[in-house]
C-alpha cells in the first residue's frame, strides 16, 4: 500500500473534521419507535481538513493522487493526525487547492479512514 509522501506535511494545519461513519440499520414499524441494529463490527471515519503547501508539495500530492493512487481509487497508509496510529485511508474526493499567496496554497482534502 502506498505511503503518504514524506515530503508532504504530515498533518493538516487547521480544520481537521472527523466523523464516524453511521453504522446503524433502522427499521420503522407502523406503530412505535424505530428498531435499531448495529450493521457491522467495524466502521470507517470520514475526515477532512486543510493543509498549507508550497507549489512543489502540491505537485507531489497531485502526482501521488494521480499515479500512485490511480486517481484516488487505491488506499494509502498515513499516520492519523489525531491518534498517531498508522492507518489505511482513501480519498473521498479529489484534493482541492486554493492559491493564497505566491507559491502558497491551501489544499483541502477529504479522506475516509478504512475500518
Amino acid at each position: 500500500m502506498p505511503l503518504w509522501p514524506t515530503t508532504l506535511p504530515q498533518a493538516p494545519i487547521y480544520g481537521w473534521v472527523r466523523r464516524p461513519q453511521r453504522n446503524v440499520a433502522s427499521f420503522q414499524p407502523d406503530v412505535g419507535p424505530p428498531k435499531y441494529r448495529r450493521r457491522s463490527t467495524a466502521s470507517g471515519e470520514l475526515c477532512s481538513g486543510t493543509f498549507v503547501m508550497t507549489g512543489e508539495q502540491l505537485s507531489t500530492l497531485r502526482e501521488f493522487y494521480r499515479a500512485d493512487l490511480a486517481d484516488g481509487s487505491l488506499p494509502f497508509s498515513w499516520v492519523d493526525p489525531v491518534d498517531q496510529t498508522m492507518s489505511a485511508f482513501m480519498f473521498e474526493d479529489s484534493p482541492e487547492d486554493v492559491a493564497k499567496d505566491f507559491n502558497i496554497f491551501d489544499v483541502r482534502v477529504a479522506v475516509r479512514r478504512l475500518p
Binding site: 419507535p33 448495529r38 457491522s40 463490527t41 467495524a42 466502521s43
Partner: protein
C-alpha cells in the same frame, strides 16, 4: 417445525435496540473450485474452524418457509470482480450454505475476528444452489434455491417397458 435458537440471540433480535451484529456466513462450493468461497457480511474478516471468511458486505434474504421449495435472493457489490467471475464461470450451479451467528460470540478486538469459545450457529440453511447468476459491472445477483423434492422421481426405478421388456410381452 420448531427452530432452536439461543435465549441471548432471541433477546437481541426482539429488543428495540441491539449492539450485536447478526452475521451471515456464506460458503460457496463446487467441484471445480479448489477451495470454497467463504464470505461473511461484515467489513472485517472472520476465522471459524480454521477457515477464513472474507468480510464482504452483501444482502441475503432468509429462505422462504412455506409449502413451496425454499427460495431467496442474494446480491452483493461486484467490487472484487473475482467472485462474480468465478461463480459465473461455473457450468453447474454451485452449492451454498448459509449460517447466521451473532457477533457476541467473537472477539471484536482483533482482525481477523476469532471465536470466543464455541460460537452458536443460530440458523443454518444447507444444500442450496445458486442459480440465475447475473453479473454486471456493479452488482452480482443470484437466486438461492433449495433441493426440490417435488420434482424428483419416486420410486427411483420404475418397471417400464424399456427397463423390463419381459413384463410387457
Amino acid at each position: 417445525m420448531p427452530r432452536q435458537i439461543s435465549a441471548s440471540f432471541r433477546r437481541s433480535v426482539e429488543s428495540r435496540a441491539a449492539g450485536d451484529v447478526d452475521l451471515a456466513f456464506l460458503t460457496i462450493s463446487h467441484p471445480r473450485l479448489i477451495e470454497p468461497i467463504r464470505l461473511v457480511s461484515d467489513t472485517k474478516d472472520f476465522t471459524r474452524d480454521g477457515a477464513r471468511f472474507i468480510g464482504f458486505p452483501f444482502d441475503v434474504q432468509l429462505l422462504s418457509d412455506d409449502d413451496h421449495p425454499p427460495k431467496a435472493q442474494i446480491s452483493f457489490q461486484n467490487v472484487d470482480q473475482s467472485i462474480g467471475e468465478t461463480v459465473r464461470g461455473l457450468r453447474s450451479p454451485p452449492r451454498l450454505k448459509i449460517e447466521l451467528l451473532s457477533s457476541a460470540d467473537f472477539d471484536l478486538g482483533v482482525t481477523p475476528r476469532v471465536p470466543l469459545g464455541t460460537p452458536t450457529v443460530e440458523y443454518t440453511a444447507d444444500k442450496l444452489f445458486l442459480t440465475n447468476v447475473a453479473v454486471d459491472a456493479l452488482n452480482v445477483t443470484a437466486e438461492i434455491v433449495g433441493w426440490n423434492y417435488l420434482q424428483r422421481v419416486w420410486p427411483g426405478v420404475r418397471a417400464t417397458q424399456d427397463l423390463l421388456p419381459g413384463l410387457f410381452r
